[in-house]
Symmetry: C2
Subunit: 238 residues, 2 copies
């Protein structure tokens, strides 16, 4: 861990870093499929839903699409998947409820305890591309103890646009170097560092399931490299 | 209590409704004055500081001043008061710390327990003219259990501008009538109702100290009239 100015706030990527989106989506879709007698590979369905998110967001970032929230992007992708998987007979309320499965994701096993420990010393905020309603509902559902919900929605810029990270520091009334971005994704961290934030890399080997291992290699360019939130807390001296 | 559609979120005015700004400011200023041997009527000082806030905000609302956060407005007023009260010899760090007394306000006696009770059923958010950093720091200091920090700063419009209330519903992903504004100030509630929010009036007879009684009369135009947050919870069936 290199020397650094004192951190006041930790801001967290959420999907994959705090919550197990894949496990949560598969679990709920499988239950839904069972009740409706749908024979679908729900792991593939979850992966396709998530895979649609980055290109949809890129269309917003490039200006091809107007500003749309992640709820709206998830719904656009879900509607395409329902056609692709020939799933019919759902009411608008059914589809809306299904789309909100992203509001009902649960944390990695260390998430709630690790965040609670970190919160005793630091301001904890989300800094996610998820919209405010999604993040607020998810926090209530999963018991995530945030001090503040910050979202790309508030900047109307998706990560990794620099405006998103700068907004977080500004809204918290801090200089960028007083804020540490925590994420399982190196691109997110590098973009935060480019704005002056500190960076903590937390590995989440199971984010994409057992068959695809993400990049887990520590990088000394990050302020901290940790294996979970307890390790992060220990390295921060909490 | 008149019949109403189901409420999903309660959004709270903070200064005066949740926290006792006057008592908190007097207490901290008095301690500071003692350590610096300043002979000042701190109750009058607190009242003058607060009294400067509305006209300063009006200058932002009218466009005379560019957007400024409450931290910035409080500082502008503090600087004037330091001159008026002939208080000298403070460093920039001293003044900044003093200005942040507004981040260190404490709740009315029923605030934490009442909010905790309400939070078991509803999404709880601030909807204050205080900036995000102020509200986040205050929540941590006073133990206020918000699900989400919403602020006029996010709309760049101060209450009672309608944009502020509409933003709260939009960011929570709710229709206005699914949101209830909670405040000790009727003007705030009427402005929220004009946008379609429900309204709960909670009286705070001591907001302005023992010598000035605010308007405490219930008004049947509000969805609920309550004497504190426990009464509000009871009337909401929590």
């Amino acid at each position: 861990m290199q020397s650094r100015p004192p951190v006041r706030a930790l801001v967290f990527d959420v999907f994959g870093t705090v919550v197990d989106w894949r496990g949560s989506i598969i679990r709920e879709c499988r239950a839904l499929g069972k009740s409706r007698k749908l024979a679908v590979d729900w792991a593939a369905f979850a992966d396709a839903w998530r895979a649609g998110y980055r290109p949809a967001m890129a269309r917003v970032r490039s200006g091809e699409l107007p500003w749309m929230s992640i709820d709206q992007l998830h719904r656009m992708i879900l509607d395409e998947l329902l056609v692709k998987y020939s799933i019919t007979g759902l009411s608008e309320a059914d589809k809306d409820h299904w789309n909100r499965v992203w509001h009902r994701l649960t944390g990695w096993p260390d998430a709630v305890a690790g965040l609670t420990r970190l919160r005793s010393r630091y301001i904890l905020a989300t800094l996610s591309n998820g919209n405010v309603a999604l993040l607020t509902n998810m926090a209530k559902y999963a018991g995530l103890p945030w001090d503040c919900i910050l979202s790309a929605e508030l900047a109307r810029h998706y990560k990794p646009d620099p405006e998103t990270y700068q907004m977080a520091a500004d809204l918290l009334g801090l200089r960028p170097e007083q804020v540490m971005m925590v994420a399982a994704h190196k691109g997110d961290l590098r973009a935060a560092q480019a704005v002056g934030l500190q960076a903590a890399f937390v590995t989440r080997p199971m984010e994409f399931g057992p068959e695809r291992t993400p990049d887990l290699t520590p990088d000394p360019a990050f302020t901290i490299n940790a294996v979970d939130f307890h390790d992060l807390a220990a390295q921060l001296g909490v």
